[in-house]
Symmetry: C2
């Protein structure tokens, strides 16, 4: 079989594949139009030629035309040119032709994946997608459960929802069927493993008390009855975790930030110490969240270490739910799976990625820790993954996958026995998920993408590998540049950290400047000149995003980066925040630019121009 | 100005407007393709002709082609023909050409309305939409706040989230700034009006204690600290309200069902009695939900009566949050607004609707109660409304509007002062809403629809009026038919109730049958022959949906409908559930069929055929 050609998957920065795109669109539209006409051929047209002759008919069409022209104009003037390698900011780039076309076609059929009855086609595709994502993330597709959400935020909520309800189950069992748990303390009830709770629930079902238990669990009583415990997340967390604690009624004050190390990965020692401290105080731990691809730094937490720690604590009778927020990095696990979707050990992987030209010869990726993190993802209870990020499909498409599908009973609004028959019975997805109505078109778009692009290194690996290679080159370009001289003044440029994935944060400081506020102002001005802040971005040479790393969120970790610029520690203690540019390099087009360093040079040239503008 | 021509707004059941649709699509695609090409004309194409000559390039394109052909085939075989007047089931019909085209174009730009930076165009359109919907629903657009959600379910969650957090604020104030509330009991703190709480919060901000208060409110502490009270919803509620109680940590057991009357509207007497009973027990009422367009019956609760009752109780020191779930019926408020968006009084309205041919001469709508319900909607604290239902736009597009935009501070994750400057400052919507990433395309689609179709009786009224007229005629067709004779056996057909809106539920029973189980079986079989249950629906003559009205959900109200068929009450008490067909008539094409009774006759003819099949 021919290998996948990344250039043939996208419309392209110069609409290079426009002919194919238009041809397919045309085919699909005719196909759809005929579908309507062919439905009961004996039915006559309802809109007649004489209707079409009416003045109000013509003026209504004209209104539609004007509105669409108006919209097109607005979009052209101010939209972000994600498609160009000149855009290196948020996790956005060109999206797959197949996904866009699949979306456009399905949109016209307008299926609603809330209920099978409204989406006989796309509900089945969603079930299929859930299994595919389970396999990608290291789960057994037969024992797990996954579905599409409108984004990673909702997926994170759903993960915490499941965890919260699960944690409350043993306490309900103690009330209704005490014989199942025996003589056991409240503390022990709060520390049963997920598997143990699900096994107990199976016994509850046999005893015919399932509904009673639900009624006495957090689902029925709210969290009023029982403190569900603390949520432990790294400082690098997405802010949806804070919102999640509010929404789910647990409270933002019950979220504990675990420190990050200099590389912005969770500090495993701090995690361990925190768990020990809470254990001494007999405060239960609701869940720990590991992040695979932090949104601000692209850091990949050492999942293998979190898993190891959980095992160690479980031997001491302490357990917690483990969720991985891989909204950003989840698809990158395709990089470590071979053409048969088998996980590759490290040495094999490194040589194969280069042999197959998935990662360029000049690039070393992944690090052994990142590889091990991917290896152990399948140990988590649930994982968030966003097709609309590294799946290269349009918004709004997130997903959640749960390791053990029995867990679904905790959040479903149908009798448990219905799900057991789901292979034969149509699914009312709305009863098993947080959301209600949802666009089947997002599912069709992702299904098309997965159909063409295997979820291993022959498929997504090949696309994502371009971004990773690009990111590592971008990182090295910054390192190598070191500084830029403008009108006799010297400006140092530094990357925040060696990227675990494909995001590079960086900042400038004028050599000799020891004032953090001044440094922040410089970087803010650069950002403003590289974003919508200086007017429509369409004419901009380089467009990026930014973030502020504050003491409130990150503790003192960013202070070390500030010190590297020769700024004294006292400045960090005073200002407590550093402003950095943030470039997610997910574009597949930075590496196959015809002049190899074209866009890298463009970047440095543009930076020079912007700083010139600022200081002159 | 010419009036709106409904036939020019849709592609049409026979793709009658295909030429216009394809012309516009072609224009938009070329426009988008050129946008990419014109971005930095000096940048050379990245995908070259020699790339295109490669075998793997060609085979990748071929894979895309095969996948899309595969998807198109699947969609054709099993999709629901929403577009045809033969489909009368869920709230689905043809969607607006402008909305579909606007979606398709915007999809390619792929804006993310989570942050302004990723959606400079569509974030502004979303703010505009929020104001338009506020006006439609009877709010002051300047003082209110509305935004797009992925559906009514999420909008309902957000309404309850706001209510829950609001309810907890006075208790937090008592702890931090007791002087603001003075000598006041816990009970009184739980019964302050929404406006009073928001006024207090303004004082809290002046005192610089806003963050402290939030930390001690439900947001910070979870609901563990303080029981938020009971949620009162009519039995006809959408099931998302039960899920909402679970998700928000309040607990499903704290939801109280208010009875419905024979017309499936909330029983106001029962509401009043329930409030009184809770008051005696000193159990606070978190919120009351009124439904404008119940999903199973299309019933419109008497909002004016709920508002009256709230006023009466407020005089006695009892208050609650009021949310209206108008996911289904919200857009119908356009029917009672004139060309200047002014609310019309009853007599004026009735004559104008007929004069302007918005409602057909043979149809009486709305009833005085429905008119009054619309009149008082603006008194509610928040309202759910779904553009993807009666807004005729594609999935997934819901919305929530809140009467007093100060309420936003309770769920926002940015300092309050940012919002006050929102007119000048770009909005990070993700910080003010439940969801995170969201498709800007849904916003653009709805914006196009509203741009062409005024939110009053000259616009949406004209489309929705077709459905209402169709529903009333469908209702009368059923009444008039009375029964159908098949092979000497007589089958009675009855509508559940005179529709408040555009939904007609109905059922059959063989005359003489006194067995409810047998009646349910008959209707279930009819449904199965009119749905995907009997194979792909494409060849079906009539397609509908169904619902079961059970004693568990509705108390004994459905029992009276069963009795009307001559089935004894004991049967209801034994079986406790009645199976009915459910037809939402939102198609604009049932009234302007060229043969006036074509589809009505088709319906009765088809019913005859289906029953023949069942009994033979």
């Amino acid at each position: 079989m021919d290998k996948l050609n990344v250039n043939a998957l996208f419309l392209g920065p110069k609409s290079e594949n426009q002919d194919f795109f238009k041809e397919m669109l045309n085919f699909m539209m005719n196909d759809f139009i005929d579908w309507r006409k062919d439905f009961h051929p004996q039915d006559k047209p309802i809109i007649t030629d004489s209707d079409k002759d009416r003045e109000d008919y013509k003026s209504t069409l004209l209104k539609t035309r004007h509105t669409l022209v108006d919209l097109a104009g607005k979009l052209q003037t101010c939209s972000m040119p994600w498609f160009s390698p000149r855009y290196l900011g948020h996790m956005n780039t060109d999206t797959l032709m197949a996904a866009n076309l699949g979306y456009m076609l399905t949109l016209l059929y307008n299926p609603n994946n809330c209920a099978y009855e409204g989406s006989p086609v796309t509900t089945e595709l969603e079930i299929e997608l859930g299994k595919q994502l389970a396999g990608l993330l290291g789960y057994d597709p037969k024992r797990s459960w996954g579905h599409i959400t409108s984004g990673g935020t909702i997926a994170n909520y759903e993960g915490l929802w499941v965890a919260r309800n699960l944690k409350s189950i043993p306490h309900a069992i103690k009330k209704v069927l005490p014989e199942l748990v025996g003589e056991i303390s409240d503390w022990q009830l709060s520390n049963l493993t997920s598997v143990r709770v699900l096994d107990l629930l199976d016994e509850v079902k046999v005893a015919g008390k399932f509904e009673d238990i639900l009624r006495l669990s957090a689902r029925g009583t709210g969290v009023l009855d029982k403190n569900p415990g603390k949520l432990l997340v790294p400082q690098s967390k997405h802010y949806s975790w804070v919102k999640a604690m509010d929404i789910l009624g647990i409270g933002t004050e019950n979220l504990i930030n675990i420190k990050v190390k200099d590389n912005y990965r969770m500090d495993i020692e701090d995690l361990k110490n925190t768990i020990e401290k809470l254990t001494v105080q007999k405060i239960p731990i609701l869940a720990v969240v590991g992040v695979v691809g932090s949104t601000e730094e692209g850091a990949i937490d050492e999942i293998h270490e979190i898993v190891r720690i959980r095992r160690e604590f479980e031997e001491k009778g302490i357990s917690f739910y483990l969720h991985i927020d891989a909204a950003y990095g989840g698809y990158a696990r395709a990089m470590v799976l071979d053409e048969n979707n088998k996980f590759l050990e490290y040495d094999d992987l490194i040589s194969t990625l280069k042999e197959q030209r998935i990662i360029a010869e000049d690039t070393d990726w992944p690090s052994p820790e990142v590889h091990k993190a991917f290896k152990f993802m399948g140990e988590a209870d649930s994982i968030t993954i966003d097709p609309h990020k590294m799946g290269y499909v349009p918004y709004a498409t997130g997903a959640i996958v749960m390791k053990d599908k029995r867990i679904l009973d905790l959040i479903s609004y149908f009798a448990a026995y219905v799900f057991d028959k789901s292979e034969n019975n149509p699914l009312l997805l709305g009863s098993y998920i947080m959301e209600g109505s949802k666009a089947g078109a997002t599912v069709a778009a992702t299904w098309c993408a997965h159909k063409i692009i295997p979820l291993n290194f022959t498929g997504y690996g090949r696309i994502i590998g371009c971004g990773i290679t690009g990111a590592q080159r971008f990182y090295r370009t910054i390192l190598k540049a070191g500084s830029i001289i403008i009108a006799g003044r010297k400006f140092q440029i530094k990357p925040l950290t060696l990227p675990d994935f494909n995001m590079v944060d960086f900042a400038f400081n004028e050599i000799g400047n020891k004032d953090l506020t001044a440094m922040n102002e410089l970087n803010q001005k650069i950002y403003e000149l590289c974003s919508y802040k200086s007017g429509p971005v369409y004419l901009n040479d380089f467009i990026t995003s930014k973030t502020a790393l504050s003491e409130e969120e990150y503790g003192n970790t960013p202070g070390k980066f500030v010190m590297d610029f020769g700024i004294p520690w006292e400045e960090w203690e005073k200002v407590k925040s550093v402003y950095v540019m943030r470039s997610s390099i997910i574009t597949p087009f930075l590496v196959n630019d015809s002049s190899p360093d074209g866009f890298m040079n463009n970047f440095l040239k543009t930076m020079k121009e912007k700083i010139t503008k600022i200081i002159s």
